[in-house]
Symmetry: C2
Subunit: 342 residues, 2 copies
């Protein structure tokens, strides 16, 4: 019955999906490590628990890239968002002292452009290699009628491990501790709904226009890859000098730093202690955004805060510098609650 | 500057997101087990590796619910899709012999209806409890401009564990083995793009209409919860009688069973050996779909295939029956390749 319905007529092409998967095999294979037991195509990915831990605790996180994807669509660049996603997830488990083991991605689109999928997964695999993390699997979903032509959503899941005795949970934070802020590369993956509104609507710019004050294009400034702080923090974590870590994501410093502070303790952040990158000043002026709102939506140039004893500040700054990441003493812990700016 | 832009003006309400999270705390807590070390709100979820395994292998999978979500939107029912998602993921690692440890979800929508989010997460938590799996975390993403009003996407990620020596990978499958098919509850989570086209477009039905032949409404028939085969297979896996397992998802029996067959072996499936539920016959007639296409898109009433020695068929059928799941001897393994219908 030639006039009957098929899956392909309905908009789902299983053969194309199979071909796309085949093209990803090499990318996935590039992230394998000694503990990876499965290959792409098995129902579940297999990973052996590292045998060098006494009491291993798995640390896991799920995240997306948010509306930063809209900038990628506008710019036609799909190789950076996967790196952002992996690095974001790596940071989310790093703050508990964990190193990444493996990662899985979820890509959903109305119809699959094989080249776009390959570009996305290239970025995911690159992020995985950068963090020595295996890309263990993923799902590429054809969701007809869910996404606009040329658009997609991208989510990721990470599993890492930490020795139970080395868990970082902020309970070691005490009054008198110092805050070290580590430089972000830009917006990372937060605040894009507001940033796009400011840049594209209020300022009327396009992705190829120069973003005033930044010396670079809108696309370049807004697609800068979310930084992984794993290289910068590997040595401080090994030394056991870290009392607490806060990944500065949605909610900014005031929304994230208090999450790790013991009851009765607050943080004072000195505004002038680090250079807020021009990107944030441009956004603030362009959208006439109140400073308090800026602090709550954007990272303002600080992507990770490390809480340490004051005598360890130099060691953290040096360890970061050694891998090309700037760090500054930006404040301290004292009696109180939440975050106060000074 | 009252006329300046804020995140809320741009469509993202961080306070509402925080309130919604607070309402989920109890649901998440209902899934905790002795190995769950973290609470909702920490950057990453914490789970200790069970200490009762010699050589633990983690088995992980990511999946979505696909366009079954469109049926949920049309019916205004959001409490089943989370159960489908968890059960689908449980089955995907069960086929390698793994039992679930923990689960994370990803929910993305243009704007968040707190009640809908709660209904979705209720289903996810229910699925987790049913499978004795901790809901360790998740991400609820406000993605303005990505999803139509009232729509969302939902993805999940599971981590389970299996003793390395007890991994099921199909390598034990041999000529002469029998196939036991376990009953599905309906379409599970596959083929919905075609099924919706047939039911809503070709047949012109609405969600509250009766689906001919099924004795129930379109919504009820199409939203039936994807079955978890963990209860049915727990005992056969413990006994070590399972040679291979295939979860029948996208691609149907011909697309999934060969994934676990050793080179040189094929499967013969006897069509008359199990009763194809009326739902599938209605879809086939309604869309005038060729039988070969039906086999490739839908599970045709078999959601899981268990490959065992012929003498173990009764044990598997009995174990399934004991938990209310029907099973049938549906074919055998022999020299050849792929799946042949007889």
């Amino acid at each position: 019955m030639a006039e009957g319905l098929s899956y392909r007529d309905a908009g789902v092409d299983l053969d194309a999906a199979e071909r796309a998967k085949e093209r990803l095999r090499e990318l996935v294979a590039s992230t394998r490590d000694a503990n990876t037991l499965s290959e792409l195509g098995s129902f579940g990915g297999l990973y052996s628990v590292p045998a060098d831990l006494q009491s291993p605790v798995l640390v896991s996180s799920a995240d997306g890239v948010g509306t930063k994807l809209k900038v990628a669509f506008a710019a036609g660049r799909h190789d950076t968002v996967g790196q952002c996603l992996v690095n974001h997830c790596v940071n989310d488990i790093l703050v508990q002292g964990a190193r990444p083991l493996f990662f899985l991605d979820y890509i959903a689109a109305g119809s699959m452009d094989e080249n776009v999928v390959r570009e996305i997964v290239w970025g995911v695999a690159q992020g995985c290699r950068d963090n020595r993390c295996a890309l263990l699997g993923g799902e590429t979903a054809q969701m007809q009628g869910f996404y606009a032509e040329g658009e997609y959503d991208l989510a990721g899941f990470i599993v890492g491990v930490v020795e139970r005795a080395k868990l970082v949970d902020g309970s070691a934070v005490r009054a008198g501790d110092a805050l070290v802020g580590l430089a972000s590369t830009g917006l990372h993956t937060n605040g894009y709904t507001l940033a796009r509104r400011i840049v594209f609507d209020a300022m009327g710019l396009g992705v190829t226009d120069e973003l005033p004050g930044t010396g670079t294009s809108v696309a370049h400034a807004l697609l800068a890859v979310h930084r992984s702080y794993l290289p910068a923090l590997r040595e401080p974590l090994r030394q056991g000098i870290v009392h607490g870590l806060a990944h500065i994501t949605g909610g900014g410093v005031p929304g994230n730093l208090p999450r790790i502070l013991p009851s009765g303790l607050g943080a004072t952040v000195k505004r002038a202690s680090w250079p807020v990158p021009p990107l944030f000043q441009t956004l603030q002026r362009g959208g006439r955004v109140e400073l308090e709102e800026m602090d709550r939506v954007f990272n303002m140039g600080i992507g990770m805060i490390v809480v340490v004893d004051p005598k360890s500040v130099a060691a953290v700054v040096e360890a970061a510098k050694a891998v090309g990441v700037q760090g500054w003493a930006i404040g301290s812990i004292g009696a109180g609650e939440g975050v106060t700016y000074a």
